[in-house]
Every structure is written in C-alpha cells, then in structure tokens.
C-alpha cells in the first residue's frame, strides 16, 4: 500500500528531512509507479540528502554510485577478482582438469566482485540506490544505466544473466553540467529542487542544529534568502546555512541585530569565493540585515 503524501512528508520529517509538497508527491509516485526519481537543482540544495532520508525512512541500506568522467562497467556493475582467479588457475594446474572445467570454476560467483549497481539488485531487502551526479558520467554509461533501470537485470558474458532479487528505489541527481538524454529523462520522474523558502529553511535548521531557538533560525533563514538574491558567484546552499547557524549558536548569538559585527565576521561560513567576500561589504551586510525581521 502506497503511503499518502502527508504521511510520507511527516515520516521524512521524523528522519530529519523537511520535504516540500511537490517532492513528497514525487516520492509517493516513485513508490506507486516504481520509477526512478531524477532530482535536478543547484549544488547544495540537498539533493543527495533526499536519498539518505529515504534510506533512513525505509530502514534500508543506501548504495551510492558516485559518477565521474570515464566511469565504466567494471567500476559500476561488476568486476572479476583477478588475483584470486590467478591463484585458482595455479591451484587447478596439477589436478588434471580440462581447460573448460577450469574456466567454469574461475568464472563463478565466488570470483565476482559486486559493484554498486549489481549490489543494488541482489539485496533481499530493496535498498535505496543513489546515482549521484549522473551528468558527470559519459553518455555511454547513461545508455547501459538505462538498460539496468528498465529491466533490472545484468548480463555477464562469462556467467549469464543475473535477475534482480528485489527492485531498489532509485534516486538520480544531476547538477546540469551536461545535458542528459531524453530517454533517461523519460524513464524517470522529475523534480527540480529549489532553494528552500525561509520558512522551510528555518524548519530545516531547527531539525539539524541542536539547541537553536526558532526566532534565530528564522532570522538566519531570512538573511540567507536575501543573500541568495545578491549577484554572487557561488550561491550558498543549505549546508552552508547549517554551518553558519551552528557557528552563530556556538558564539552565543541570540539575535542577529544585536551582533551585527559578528554576523559580518562569520559570513565566511557562507561566502566561499574571493569575489563574493569582497562584494558583500559591511554596508551590504547591514543592508541585508535591515530586511530581516
């Protein structure tokens, strides 16, 4: 039975992820239609966190495949354990077995190394499979990923086809460094993860930073909201907000307006390039602070 949207959002909140309405619905649909979910959005908006929260929610493993340029079958699906195979060949040498028998022996389950994609379909309990930054992998990889995502089986030439024991929940993330193929996009449900609204960001802060009071959380979230509208080279993400709130809390701030000096000095938590830190001068910081309740 598929959970309803509200139940799912609530359960996610219990694991520490505050989902917005659209995302909760998209997650309900992944359950219902058994389709992978493609998450796009700027860096630092919490795309990867969705998969982690999903794994916590279902009390199952998170299997992560970090994509990079040049990622291929042997890193993503399976690989033979060559060292053991070499030893086995040597051990079989005196036994008088035929070449075919030796071949059968060394290309068996025992010598197979599982990589994330194969591991994900062979678990008894369906895991959450996170394919991170799929846009960094090559187009060729996208093609065989598509094959696995539609059939949930892997064929190994030396051994035969391995069927899925369980169908994993699949989450793909992309930063948009490369255009993904239409085929992959069609296969997946899509959700664009935007920067959170101040309200949601404040709730995220409250669930993530222990001991933070609601008023300060809202102030920090509002300031981040206005800061993101400035013309910055690297727009700070949610992780930066959490860092900053933790820092402010550690330094004993109660109210941003009382500690203007400190606010300016700790901006290094959120501004990560030289241009940005020179652009946000004390005047700019004060102006932004002026818009915070």
């Amino acid at each position: 039975m598929t959970p309803t949207k509200t139940d799912l959002a609530k359960a996610l909140a219990d694991t520490g992820y505050i989902a917005d309405d659209g995302l909760a619905m998209a997650l309900v649909l992944t359950e219902m239609l058994k389709r992978p979910l493609l998450l796009e959005g700027e860096a630092g908006v919490g795309k990867t966190e969705v998969a982690k929260a999903l794994a916590r929610l279902h009390e199952t493993d998170l299997i992560r495949l970090q994509c990079y340029e040049g990622l291929d079958r042997s890193d993503a699906i399976y690989e033979w354990n060559y060292q053991r195979q070499l030893l086995a060949i040597k051990a079989h040498e005196g036994s008088g077995e035929s070449a075919a028998q030796i071949e059968d022996a060394i290309f068996s389950e025992k010598y197979l190394l599982e990589r994330p994609l194969l591991a994900a379909i062979r678990r008894e309990r369906p895991p959450v499979l996170l394919i991170d930054e799929i846009d960094r992998a090559d187009e060729e990889f996208e093609a065989f990923l598509l094959e696995i995502l539609s059939d949930f089986q892997v064929s190994i030439p030396e051994m035969g086809t391995i069927e899925a024991r369980s169908v994993p929940r699949v989450v793909l993330t992309s930063n948009g460094t490369r255009e993904l193929s239409d085929a992959l996009r069609r296969r997946c449900l899509y959700h664009y993860v935007d920067y959170p609204t101040p309200d949601r960001e404040a709730r995220i802060l409250l669930s993530r930073v222990e001991g933070l009071d609601a008023a300060l959380a809202l102030q920090v979230a509002q300031l981040m909201g206005t800061l993101r509208k400035e013309d910055l080279a690297k727009v700070p993400g949610v992780a930066e907000t959490i860092d900053w709130a933790t820092a402010l809390l550690g330094l004993g701030t109660r109210n941003l307006h009382e500690d203007r000096e400190l606010v300016f000095e700790t901006l290094s938590c959120v501004l990560k390039t030289r241009e940005d830190s020179t652009r946000v001068t004390r005047e700019v910081a004060d102006r932004l602070l002026g818009r915070v309740a």
Binding site: M25, E40, Y82, Q85, I89, E93, A99, G176, Y190
Partner: protein, 405 residues
Amino acid sequence: MAFAAPRALHTIETRDDLGAALRLRLAGFLHSLRDSGFKVGLAESRDALSLLLSPQAASARDLKAGFRALFCGRLSDWRAFDEIFDAYWLDRGVKGVIKTSGTSTKTGGKTLREMAEQQGTRRDTLANDVDRQPGEEDEPQDEEATGRREGASLAENLERVDFRKISDPEQLEAAHALAERLARAMRVRLTRRDRQMRKGPRLDLRRTIRRSIAQGGTPLSLVRKGPREKQLRLVILLDASGSMSNYTGVFTRFVHGLLDSFREAEAFLFHTRLVHVSAALKERNAGRALDRLGLMAQGVGGGTKIGEALTQFNAWHAARVIHSRTCVIILSDGYDTGEPERMGREMAALRRRCKRIVWLNPLIGWDGYEPVTGGMVAALHHVDLFAPAHNLASLAALEPYLATL
C-alpha cells in the same frame, strides 16, 4: 474511489462514462503537453491514468504535483508546466473560453469528478485555446510557418553577402563548400591522433586473464589500458553584426561543418544579444540549417555588444557547455559598441573556465590592421591565439593548433 459522496448513486450508474470521459480529457492534456515540447510517451500516459484513478490524486493540487513529477523531464518543462496544467484542467489563464453556467469558481480542492464533468463537454475548444495562450512561446506550427518565409529571405541575404573579394556566386558557393569540407577533415585527423596517443600505463587485467586461459593460465601477452582521452570540445561564438557581414556566410558554413562532424561542439551566434544555435546547425542539409539559423538570428546586421553577449554566455551557458578540455573560438572583428571594461572582465571570467580561447579576426588579414579598438585591446590579454580568418588558408591553419590541445 475518492469521488465526491453526495451523488454516489449517479456515479455508480455512469462510472463507465466517467472513465471514458476522463481518458479523453487526459489524452487531450497529453496532446497539449506534446505540443509544448514535452517528451511524453505511452508509458507516461498509462502511469498518469493509474495516478488519476488512485486516491492519491484526490485534489487538483495533488494531481498537479503528481503530473508535474511524471511529465516533466527538465527545468524548462518544470517552469512551463503549471501554466499548461492550470489552463487545461482548471480553466485558468485561458482567454476566450465561455464559462458554462454553474461552473464552480473555487480553485483548490476540486474533485476529479467535478473537473471531468465541468470540462469534458468542451474539450476540443479548450485544447485549441491552450495552444493560443499568451506567454507560452513555443508554438511549433506557427514558428515553422513564419520560419520558412523569413529564413528564405535571409538565406538569400547570406548568399548575396560575399567573402569580401569573391563576387562570382559560383566561386562563393565553392568557398562555402570548401570551408565545410575543411571543418570535417579537421575532425578526422584530430581523432586519429587521439587514438595513437593511447599508450596505456596500466595493465588491463580483465583482458589479460581472459587471454591467458588459452595458454593454461600463464599470462603471456599483456593487455594494457590507459585513461580514455577526453574529447576536445569546441564552443564557437560567431559574430553576426553588420561589420562582419562580408564573412558571416562563409563562417556559418564552416561552423556548420564543425558542428556536424565534431561530436562535442556547441555554437552561439551574437550581435546585440546571444542566441544558442547548435540545434539549428545540427541539421544535415546545409541550406536548411541556414534557413533555421536565419530565423534565430533576427537582428543580424545591427551593432555589436560583445561584452553583453559574453555576460549572457558566462551566466547562462558556460557552466553547461564548457568542461576542462574545451576550446572557445570567437569569430569576430572586435568592433564593440559596449564598454571595454566589461569586455575585459567577461573575457577574464571566460578564461578561467576553459582551456584555450582562440580569437579569429578577419581584419588581421587586412594591410596595416592594428587591434587598437578599446574592447579588442581589453580582450587581447585573455586570448591564447589571435589569428587571421580572412581566407580559407587561415581557417586551415587552425587545425595544427587544435591538435596540440
């Protein structure tokens, strides 16, 4: 079923009719999505139907969120979706639709049954209205119709424009074709060079062992592998302003050839603003590609704002089209009507991202040319290769340089 209770009896009698009406409505919706450039297949319609019939989509808001996740494939879809959905299902943002009397005006929380009843009767008119909605810019049919007209006139223009000294049209056509062949030949030679470079610092154990079985497990012949070469990507920024008109034709053909044969190449055209033209130039037929290009390049022949075009490029396209092995080729005479400081700043930003910037300037071929215009001087600091491009030989000279990248 999550349909409204008050008319339960009625519902039971007409369950089949309702199902059919819904199905038709859904088909109409898919149709308007496809018209707006969404990639929606049969699997999506099946899933959409099962969502429609499930209790999850009891309110219009939930249905919208669900459909959005299901039908959108990219950010542009995501942004356009709400408007299309509202227009089709909720009757909002549509001009010229006569409301039937008694239609509920409340927007949220409508049940499906209400929606189906309310609109099922006049789906045809509505579907047409959705296409005509203001603010929804991609209307493929209209675009094609006007495109053919304007494209043709511009293509004529491009042909009339000459390579400065060649005036015979046949000669000019030959020059165009040659430029295109040149671009293709460059690709062939570059890849061959790539393959020879692969020496392989590491052992490929997988293949080595596979081969060793035939020799009883003794790895006699070793197989090696090395990092795969990242392909060189070309990003071309072509100046189509009035001052460049003598060269635009031949350059466009050159760029068409490059795009057609390089797997990784992107082209942009700029005058007072920047247009992404890769899709138009991927058309195999050169004539048709130029037609499509003509449509996109309205405003060709006006002034140039290179600095502004570069700002747009850096802000919107650079992150996506540039990777570590990218060569940016700018084809321009450097006559800029914007501020030189801005150009310098944007060139510096571009320089940080890509491997090389090549500036091809047709004026270098002229006698006594010095790059003294403000913008050109500012840009020159950041350019790796500043080369002439006034004839075919100068374009061919680009190849050895690209081969070293």
